[in-house]
């Protein structure tokens, strides 16, 4: 069974630096981390591998070559291979362009039984990349999974919590599942795998390696959305207001808060 996990390298919110003029976030290697929701997806893949020995896990990332150092961490927990799609022409891609590029990369990499993604990335929070990849690939898609198990070689069982209700779904493979963040935490690395990762280099591919690629669909030009405004949010002046058992005051307080962020 072949599982592909899409893992984005995002800027650690605690170390983030941005350029207000160009409306971009600075991405240097020391500030990157693997997107937490994607790591939940990876943990499910590893759990499937724990009980099915012939599972092969590949990760796919899209981003600058600086991401390589973080991708090594995926080998340390037990991924079999890692691919990085890196191309300057992808810079400025929005969710739509990203989904297109990833879908094309997946098509070119070969047939996958199961594709896993995190529900959203820390920096984008759109949650639309996974369903769009599935649309491009024309395979079923289930979002916000809280548990995934292999049912048989043709199906996986998925649990999904929505409005406090638990849904159990069975989906035929190939399929794409996006995983709710914090639904599970990534395991610790193993010493032998960390040593293996020392000399591991991910397979780096560029857009030129992808067949039938429509360059007009990616980059800032090919994107459907663009960054309009960049607002610096300062938390220093946020005051803590405590209301106790005063319903109207609480409602007013919440209304004020909502207004402030609109």
């Amino acid at each position: 069974m072949k599982i592909l996990v899409c893992i984005k390298q995002v800027v650690d919110p605690e170390k983030v630096e941005y350029n207000v003029q160009t409306k971009t976030i600075k991405r240097n290697a020391q500030h990157l981390m693997n997107n937490p929701a994607d790591l939940s997806a990876l943990e499910f893949a590893l759990r499937i591998k724990d009980v099915n020995k012939d599972v092969h896990i590949t990760t796919l990332s899209m981003g600058p070559v600086e991401c390589e150092s973080k991708i090594k961490e995926l080998i340390e927990v037990g991924c079999d291979s890692c691919v990085l799609l890196s191309d300057k022409r992808l810079a400025g891609s929005d969710a739509y362009s990203t989904a297109y590029a990833l879908a094309k990369a997946i098509e070119n990499l070969g047939n996958y039984d199961l594709i896993l993604c995190g529900e959203s990335s820390l920096d984008g929070e759109t949650s639309i990349v996974p369903p769009q990849i599935a649309e491009y690939l024309n395979i079923p898609h289930i979002s916000f999974a809280t548990n995934i198990k292999v049912f048989d070689l043709q199906h996986v069982e998925i649990e999904r919590k929505f409005k406090n209700q638990l849904f159990k779904l069975k989906v035929e493979l190939p399929a794409l599942v996006s995983v709710k963040k914090d639904s599970v935490f990534l395991r610790l690395p193993k010493l032998s795998l960390m040593i293996k990762a020392l000399s591991y280099t991910p397979q780096i591919i560029s857009l030129d390696d992808l067949e039938n690629f429509d360059f007009s669909k990616v980059g800032a030009e090919g994107s459907k959305t663009s960054v309009n405004r960049f607002v610096e949010q300062s938390f220093e002046d946020v005051k803590c207001e405590i209301y106790e058992d005063i319903e109207d005051a609480q409602i007013e307080c919440i209304a004020n808060l909502v207004m402030r962020f609109l």
Partner: protein
């Protein structure tokens, strides 16, 4: 300071640090208070393969040496020496097998110890034989295919929790230290019981118990080395494991120092942080100097041992004595810097000071270590 560890050693240290900071730190105070054996942490060390760092590759380990073992112990001790000693005591039990085990014994026990499936222990001390190791009274009498062990052991780390015990007993009373032999005793052997559990000052999450042998039947193939070599086995093992105690001491000191600095920067008195007072600055500087000196001596000793040197008793003793004295001094000063908050159980330095004390006592009290060093250096000149 840059210690020029190899890439692999850096990985071991960073992995141990991660487990220590993310997991050990969360349970240290609770396990200490309630005396909970840290089996869950040992399981994590097993999963990450840190249980096998000092076991030879051919027996399923990583193939490192004393240095690798010490790096793990040091990092665990930064947050809880009780957890660290539960890990280190397995090394103390495994080393006699690594050094003197017959091929079948090594094959039987070492791979499982490396994987963390077996916890080990080392049982030498008795009620009347502490510093004076050679006066142990537990006997082992050969009867057919078995040795019959009778007697009891005191202060045995991992007692009751371990699966395999290296036990020292007298096979020939007339020969003094040359009449002591070492045996591998498994949990569950007939006539082998675990006695009283000690209520200790520090390292409270580790288990320290009595062991009782009443006509305990140990198969003759479980004799380690030859009959009469037990004393040498114990001493050669200690030469390799005393740095482990030094590593524990360095880790405890490092942990206390880190807490003290953070506290001194935050706590304001007389309108300024404690860290702005020169009296406090000098204490912090001395902590730094002493810890770096202890770590330098420890790592140099580990490198000497792992390079295949033949005789390193005095170096091994020196790093144990120095580091444990540093740990006692640094933790005491850390408590001082934190004032009342240093003296209560809400902050970890109170525990660290209690934990530090035992590093001056076990695996040979520091007075005994000085005896070893003195006898060696006097011989040399």
């Amino acid at each position: 300071m840059e210690y020029f560890l190899s890439e692999e050693q850096k990985i071991i240290k960073s992995l141990a640090k991660r487990i220590s900071d993310e997991y050990v730190s969360k349970v240290a105070i609770k396990y200490d208070k309630e005396g909970i054996f840290p089996r869950d942490i040992l399981d994590l060390l097993a999963y990450t393969e840190l249980t096998g760092v000092y076991i030879p590759k051919e027996y399923g380990g990583f193939g490192g040496g004393v240095m690798e073992m010490c790096l793990v112990v040091e990092e665990l001790s930064r947050n809880c020496a009780g957890v660290a000693v539960s890990y280190a005591a397995t090394a103390l039990g495994a080393y006699p097998i690594i050094l003197y085990g017959k091929e079948e014994q090594k094959k039987k026990y070492l791979p499982k110890i490396a994987k963390g499936e077996l916890i080990a222990a080392f049982a030498l001390t008795e009620a009347d034989a502490g510093s004076d190791v050679s006066s142990i009274k537990t006997t082992a009498e050969k009867k057919g295919d078995y040795y019959i062990l009778n007697g009891s052991k005191h202060w045995i780390t991992n007692g009751g929790e371990a699966d395999v015990y290296v036990v020292f007993a007298v096979t020939d009373k007339s020969k003094g230290p040359r009449g002591i032999s070492a045996f591998i005793v498994e949990k569950g052997y007939e006539g082998f019981y675990c006695g009283k559990k000690e209520d200790k000052m520090g390292i409270r999450s580790s288990s320290t118990t009595e062991l009782i042998f009443e006509d305990c039947k140990v198969p003759k193939e479980n004799l380690l080395g030859r009959e009469g070599t037990g004393f040498i086995i114990a001493m050669k093992t200690f030469d390799r494991t005393r740095p482990g105690v030094a590593a524990m001491a360095v880790g405890i000191a490092q942990g206390a120092y880190e807490h003290a600095i953070r506290y001194a920067k935050e706590r304001v008195q007389f309108g300024q942080p404690l860290s702005s007072f020169q009296a406090i600055q000098h204490m912090l500087a001395d902590m730094y100097i002493n810890i770096e000196a202890a770590r330098s001596l420890l790592y140099s000793t580990c490198r000497m041992i792992d390079s295949g040197a033949k005789d390193f008793s005095k170096e091994s003793s020196a790093c144990k004595v120095f580091a444990s004295d540093v740990a006692m001094k640094v933790t005491t000063d850390a408590v001082q810097i934190m004032g009342g908050n240093g003296y209560v159980k809400d902050y970890p330095v109170e525990k660290m000071m209690r934990d530090a004390k035992v590093t001056q006592i076990f695996e040979g009290a520091n007075q005994i270590q000085r005896n070893i060093i003195a006898s060696e250096i006097i011989k040399e000149y």
